[in-house]
Amino acid sequence: MSSFEKNFRRGIVRSNPTFVLMLGLCPTLAVSTSLDNAIGMTAAFVFVLVASNILISLIHGLVPNKVRIPVFIVIIATLVSIVDLMMQGFVPALSKSLGIYLPLITVNCIVLGRAEAFASKHGVLDSMADALGIGTGFGLAILLLSFIRQLLGTGKLDLFGHHLFTIPGFSENPVSVLMLPMGAFLVVGTLLALFRWMGVTKNE
């Protein structure tokens, strides 16, 4: 259990995929405009990550070196497609707002990176713990981002159509640039610096 826990915890802070490894930034930045998107993306991402880690840790002994990358990518792509189809079928609105970033999980460096670096060398349980940890780290990062961007960018918080909170006087003139791509860059850059300044992550 302790190795499970260790592998799980590592991905959350110490090797947080977004703020420490800075991998797989594309979906993180692109869909963090609302909490809904962030949650949907996290769910899809964690599913793909866990499933691919499990599958790859199961078959890694059999895979020939030459076609290792194509094989891994095909497995991941299949899982992504399955999630994509499911989302289209059952939560069409979410699927629409995630757009092409959902299928693009396929080429997310975190997924392939974990498959290569961890799952292809460890057992099923450890791989699962690792995937869950990394997935949680990813989820926390994207939730934090979308929280900030939605709150400051629109002046209010909505979650799945329910209105949660409005900053009085702010929602008339929110910092709407945060909803645009440049806003995401600004928030991530500032957060990264903030984490370093607080000593959560190391300076380069």
């Binding site: 090797s15 420490v20 490894l21 030459k66 392939l112």
Partner: protein, 284 residues
């Protein structure tokens, strides 16, 4: 029926892709020799080609590492860095661990007791300061304490003792790379075997006395006492510099007898008391 056809057609795309890779690997000539070492290094890398290390893909990183091992020490692959075992394997392969335990450590031949005779206002680097009148200290051979050595030290073993204005080495972290030796314009640091128990903390060259400049109250007066009281060969004399050279033999009497107390103990010095004193503390 329809499903079968689709599966067949799509699978054939997969088959074709694999076939192309196979054919390509068979038809094309062998890899160039210059890439062989990089190819071996790459075997240790995750192969995710994520680019997070700053190099365009794992093979490029491997090439850089094969070219200069320090690349791996300075910017380890972020994915591999989480995998202790993997790290270890590559470190072993590159022999990085072995390199850290080298048999030499740096010492600084100065006690820092010389005071400034002018007000130096130029660039705060030793290299710049020595271009004007051999530095600003009364002793023209003294440590200027502007930290050129500190800046080049890869492990942070060098530091400036602000009280005495002298560079000091922490032997625990010193890896004996010798960068400080080349960086110092005054030629004060020197690499000595890590088992040398003492060294002379002065570089004053009597044969090159400069009128108007003089040694500090702590400087070696070239009295040869250390040489005389020690057993044969334990202390030799550098005639060019007119300074003693100490070797691995511990010379307690010499340390005691030195009229200037300018012979410093290193961590390799064995004392009756169990307290181990580093040169860093000792220079004070």
């Amino acid at each position: 029926m329809n499903a079968t056809i689709t599966v067949t057609i799509l699978s054939s795309i997969g088959f074709f892709a694999g076939l192309m890779i196979y054919v390509a690997s068979k038809v094309l000539p062998k890899e160039d020799e210059s890439l062989a070492e990089a190819a071996r290094v790459k075997e240790f890398l995750p192969g995710a080609d994520c680019g997070a290390c700053g190099y365009p893909g794992c093979f490029a990183y491997a090439q850089a590492v094969a070219h200069d091992k320090q690349v791996f020490a300075k910017t380890p692959c972020p994915i591999l860095a989480q995998d202790k075992g993997g790290m270890k394997k590559l470190e072993d392969y590159l022999g990085l661990q072995a390199e850290v335990i080298v048999g030499k450590k740096a010492v600084v031949h100065c006690t820092g007791g010389s005071h400034s005779i002018v007000e130096y206002t130029g660039l705060q680097t030793c290299a710049a300061a020595t271009q004007l009148a051999s530095g600003f200290n009364e002793c023209p051979y003294s440590c200027l304490a502007l930290g050129d050595c500190v800046r080049v030290c890869p492990t942070g073993a060098m530091s400036i003792d602000q009280e005495h204005h002298v560079a000091v080495v922490d032997w625990e972290t010193c890896i004996g790379c010798g960068l400080c030796v080349t960086a110092c314009p005054q030629g004060l640091p020197e690499l000595i075997p890590a088992n040398t128990p003492q060294y002379v903390a002065c570089n004053y060259q009597a044969k090159r006395d400069i009128p108007g400049r003089k040694r500090c109250p702590d400087g070696c007066i070239h009295c040869h006492i250390c040489e005389k009281v020690s057993e044969e060969g334990a202390v030799t004399w550098d005639e060019k510099k007119d300074l003693p050279i100490f070797h691995v033999t511990q010379v307690d009497t010499a340390i005691e007898k030195c009229p200037r107390h300018v012979i410093r103990k290193t961590v390799a010095y064995e004392e009756k008391e169990l307290e181990v004193v580093g040169s860093a503390q000792e220079t004070g």
